[in-house]
């Protein structure tokens, strides 16, 4: 099934993005959803059509991993949809963003107001409102989930703070 992409009902995934990050449902309304293998969900244009092509090596962009109990957003989908996220978002300063892009674990001080996030779960990390990827929040620490191939600690971050 590895190289097969099957069209799937997108409602559970639209609903998940809405529940998890309060992303308006209409943001994902004009999309189709595709499943590759057991656990990989991809989001594509509504009218995209791979026809009878085989093998296929990608339909749209990877969106979610659903293989485990907790679904995990991909970094690329976090960037794609994260501008509109209103829930489970952690805003990072310049130095934290650099460390996030270096795939580090960032610990927040006990009195940091951002510690009001839930105990454990995936969050979208943002820099001045710009989504930089997703991370695993766990009791006051943020574990960067930036893929190794997108690691970029030397990024030029132009904004202050």
């Amino acid at each position: 099934m590895g190289d097969h992409y099957l069209p799937v009902d997108g409602d559970p995934y639209r609903e998940w993005w809405h529940q998890q990050f309060a992303i308006p449902p209409d943001t994902l309304e004009g999309c189709s959803f595709w499943q590759r293998g057991r656990s990989s969900i991809w989001v594509a244009a509504a009218d995209v059509d791979p026809g009878r092509l085989t093998p296929v090596d990608g339909v749209g962009i990877p969106c979610l991993r659903i293989g485990r109990d907790v679904w995990k957003p991909t970094a690329i989908a976090a960037i794609e949809f994260g501008v509109e996220a209103c829930r489970n978002v952690v805003e990072l300063d310049t130095e934290e963003t650099r460390r996030f892009l270096d795939r580090e674990v960032i610990a927040f001080a006990a009195d940091d107001p951002r510690r009001t996030l839930p105990n454990r779960g995936f969050v979208i990390a943002r820099y001045h409102g710009l989504p930089m990827g997703c991370g695993l929040w766990s009791g006051g620490t943020l574990e960067s989930e930036v893929p190794k191939g997108r690691r970029l600690p030397e990024i030029d971050l132009p904004l202050r703070r």
């Binding site: 995209v48 962009i61 971050l157």
Partner: protein, 336 residues
């Protein structure tokens, strides 16, 4: 078929400057100002970036955080940081940028707000003119810059099948499309010479064939030089085979754009002359602000089909770009 003899412009000396001059010698009679061509070819290429309209919300947020008007462009964002930015003469939403040594380290690149691409390689997608909702095949697509231009131009609607045989280059294509948030691309790793019949018909096609890359003489990256050295034998036979296969997949009335980053008629006009039949017309076109020369109708004592003159040859010294050759071919039959 072997359209191009080994040796000639394919043999390169140890000195890169001498390489370049030797490579261009055979085109002395084709070009208006050979000295200018050689001089330009010894200079590095300008860096060009284009703004990704699919990321408008991100650009707007960065503009506001930067203290600029929310309608600011990527060009204005880069200019606000001190880079020297000049809009392209022939295409909106793209700029030449001076002083930006490592564009891959910018936040604009990381977030997919912009893509770095050689200026003249933006032309094939403009010539193709794909429209939202159409079905397009990019048969030799990696590393995906032209695919991205086509897909973005279709406003994330319809289907662009981006095919390439080479796995490592396909990874680069996927990575580029994902970074740019392109959702209307289907990636396939199929040998283009055996692309299945039942995959078509396609409304439009880009056939940017593997070539000897002479037009990349200004590209100083080691990969570009290596690519050239590996292709000294020429690719005429492969190019003609790919064109023959692509032609079968194009719908009647459809448009195929054939392009190479090489000057050799053996890889351009001779391939089209050999592979195209009565049901094909090479159409004239021009891009305002981007000068081109006509294609050749005679080469090495051989007369070619008359519409080969409608090819566009982009010489580096005319627009301060890399070299490129583009043909727009229409298949006979119903339009629309």
């Amino acid at each position: 078929m072997h359209l191009r003899e080994p040796g000639g412009c394919g043999e390169y000396a140890a000195d890169p400057m001498q390489d370049t001059t030797q490579a261009l010698l055979r085109y002395k009679d084709l070009v208006d100002d050979w000295e200018a061509l050689v001089e330009t070819s010894h200079r590095p290429l300008p860096l060009v970036v284009w703004e990704n309209p699919l990321r408008r919300a991100h650009v707007e947020r960065l503009a506001i955080a930067t203290g600029l008007d929310r309608r600011a462009t990527v060009g204005e964002l880069l200019a606000s940081r001190g880079y020297e930015v000049e809009p392209l003469a022939w295409r909106g939403g793209a700029w030449r940028v001076r002083g930006l040594d490592k564009p891959g380290r910018t936040i604009e690149h990381y977030l997919g707000l912009m893509h770095v691409q050689e200026e003249v390689s933006l032309a094939p997608s403009a010539v193709l003119g794909a429209e939202s909702g159409e079905t397009v095949l990019d048969l030799c697509a990696a590393p995906g810059g032209k695919t991205a231009c086509i897909a973005v131009g279709m406003a994330n609607r319809g289907t662009v099948v981006a095919n390439d045989l080479r796995p490592q280059r396909l990874r680069a294509l996927r990575s580029n499309c994902e970074r740019l948030g392109i959702r209307n691309v289907v990636v396939t790793p199929i040998n283009g010479t055996r692309f299945p019949d039942d995959a078509g018909p396609f409304d439009r096609m880009l056939l940017d064939v593997p070539c000897s890359c002479e037009g990349n003489l200004r590209d100083s990256r080691p990969t570009a030089r290596r690519a050239r050295r590996n292709q000294v034998e020429g690719r005429g036979g492969l190019q003609a085979t790919l064109l023959g296969r692509a032609w079968k997949l194009l719908r009647p009335g459809g448009v195929l754009v054939y392009s190479t980053c090489t000057f050799a008629p053996e890889e351009n006009e001779l391939v089209l002359d050999h592979a195209l039949g009565e049901d094909a017309t090479i159409e004239p076109f021009s891009i305002a602000g981007l000068r081109h020369d006509a294609g050749v109708s005679h080469w090495a004592g051989k007369s070619l089909r008359a519409d080969c003159a409608n090819l566009a040859r982009y010489w580096p010294h005319h627009n301060d770009t890399g070299g490129f050759t583009i043909a727009r071919v229409r298949k006979a039959g119903a339009h629309g």
